[in-house]
Symmetry: C2
Subunit: 388 residues, 2 copies
């Protein structure tokens, strides 16, 4: 499979975005709409302080059908109490009113600062007339939900007679565990909500749930899939394969655009006793500040790889059979650092995509985690996010 | 209790440090010696790839008696296999030979780059004559074990007729779980090794084990206590209180000198269902990159406190009774962000020591964790550590 050169929507999906006054000038409100009701499934953050849109979304998704998504940036409507929940409902109602559907078929997302009440009147006024702006470019929708993202993110691919389109945002406060901050998947293939739910969880398990920019789990993470059926039935296995591939590719795009990131860092752990331990070690490596700064500086300080494996106290590690590779170049064998040419390892670390591969020598399970390097750009973004 | 204005040794302890050629010019080898055998206990890193000195140290400490500690900086002798272990033994033998004691009474420490063989000949040659340099200033010993530390670290205090002295180093790769990188405690009080072991573990539990600069657990962490008995018996309760206070103070000194740090960050979690959960949440907050950058930028983005509590999926949080304070100023009540004066919170975050206090509203247990802000200085230190 290949992704389309330019992302496009499946049949019957369109979007619009606007500035409604939450941000000074940039687009801050997005509407995604399907011409007909779509079967839908979603996963949400496991954070114990979920935003009001998450609380509402869990209720909405029980219906198994969506017609639209309304999403704003700048204010996340988190830690805002009963008033925040009312504001989320008002957002759904405003979008439903504009599109001529019911509030129960509108999923609401908000992303931005935590703990500030949503200026819902601006959204209610701003959404009026957006149905006339709906058009075919997913990037227009992606633009309205950007926070610290450096570019809007959309992908699409063909499967059988159908199309799958991914639109996402997120670059900080990302260790999803359930989903990345906001990730919307649209398809014109026909599946019922229960099947979509199963397929979505399967795809998220190996993609967004293995993404970590900074170990911090957002209060707003949402990943939703809408299937409006306009392309009819598609082979489930083929659909699943494309769905997984697209979720992984979007995960890589999000990781590469992690706040301040200059590298995509992929960590593959092999030969673990089970998948759970492989995931645990892969996450520990992708999250280690010393691994991340090693990649950032292209510094061949690969002893840190053993440190980061070794700090996984609860993992089974065959310490005399542990190996490691940097972009295919072996740097650790039998639990010891090999003598190697510094310049070669330095060069391997300098490329944009850095693959660390580790064998624990303990079993046969594998997992891959996705992250990025740690740079001064991350500090710049986050030392003054609220104030800027 | 108060700490002495200038750290000094208990009776019978002295130290020396030298440059023996591991570093270009700075002191890189330290010897601590007791005039008589001292009862001793130690805790070591839980990292699954412990350095050769840790493997040897676990064997040595079984004897329950030490006469000396020899420690080098620059090379950590980790991931160096059988040859590394032989080199650690050679270090112990060289120190024993210089001091006229047995290798089994010498604890060895090495700190620095992982995965490089120790130039043990330089140490063997360099230690010759060091017994004639032994003198009374603990800072001289502290200087020889510095890596990225910005200053040597020593403390002392009186308890009854005895003295306790702490000498430590460590500023990166620090989330000890057993001990900070290298922390040596000397006393002339008389205790047997079993009692020392119990007292040490009790003190480390609430101090070094609650320290995290960057979540990365060193392969070399060592915390050892030597009691040479020259001051005779001391009340155990009084000794424990001073031991705990000194370990906590040294933990704060290490945290404040975390790589690139400009603030000491203390996180106190109250009203947890048990101590284990209080520790888990306190560590999560002190480690959160978004909390650390908030402190660095004095950015009153306190919604992140709720995010960081909420990402502790396995902790019991009463989400409608959660409160939080920044240096005594309440910013969260009932799980919601309070309206507050930005300038006041900004001012509270700007001081050198930032105390975050959180009540989970779920029980009665408390814990405190120690860390620091995340700055560009950390990136500078770690993007080129190996190469510099």
């Amino acid at each position: 499979m290949t992704f389309h050169d330019r992302a496009r929507f499946p049949r019957g999906f369109r979007c619009a975005s606007r500035n409604v006054g939450l941000k000074p000038e940039a687009r801050d409100l997005t509407l995604f709409a399907s011409d007909v009701d779509a079967a839908a499934a979603a996963v949400f953050t496991r954070n114990q302080f979920p935003g009001a849109p998450i609380i509402l979304g869990r209720e909405t998704i029980k219906g198994g059908a969506l017609r639209a998504i309304i999403a704003n940036s700048k204010v996340s409507n988190v830690a805002t109490g009963e008033r925040g929940l009312q504001n989320a409902r008002r957002m759904a109602a405003a979008a439903a009113n504009e599109l001529g559907t019911e509030p129960g078929k509108v999923l609401v997302s908000s992303t931005g600062v935590i703990g500030v009440q949503l200026p819902v009147e601006k959204i209610e006024a701003g959404v009026v007339g957006m149905s006339r702006d709906l058009q075919d470019d997913p990037l227009v929708g992606a633009e309205g939900i950007m926070t610290t993202d450096t570019h809007p993110k959309a992908l699409s691919a063909t499967v059988g007679g159908a199309t799958i389109t991914w639109v996402a945002k997120g670059s900080g406060m990302i260790e999803p565990n359930m989903a990345t901050m906001l990730s919307y998947i649209f398809t014109d293939a026909r599946f019922d909500a229960a099947t979509l739910d199963r397929l979505l969880r399967e795809a998220v398990h190996v993609s967004f749930n293995m993404l970590s920019v900074d170990t911090d789990t957002s209060t707003s993470d949402t990943c939703v899939i809408l299937a409006n059926g306009l392309a009819g039935s598609v082979d489930e296995g083929a659909f699943r394969d494309v769905l997984v591939a697209g979720c992984i590719r979007m995960t890589e795009i999000l990781a590469r655009d992690g706040e301040g990131a200059e590298h995509l860092l992929r960590v593959t752990v092999r030969d673990a006793v089970n998948e759970s331990e492989a995931r645990y070690v892969a996450k520990a490596l992708v999250n280690s500040p010393l691994i991340k700064t090693m990649v950032h500086g292209a510094d061949p300080n690969v002893g840190r790889i053993l440190m980061a494996i070794g700090k996984c106290f609860d993992a089974t590690v065959n310490t005399t059979a542990t190996s490691a590779w940097v972009n295919g170049y072996q740097v650790v064998a039998n639990g010891e650092r090999l003598e190697f040419d510094d310049a070669t390892v330095r060069a391997a670390l300098k490329v944009e995509v850095v693959d660390l591969e580790v064998s624990l020598g303990a079993g046969q399970a594998t997992a891959r985690a996705y992250g990025c390097d740690l740079t001064k750009g991350y500090i710049d973004e986050n030392a003054a996010y609220y104030s800027s």
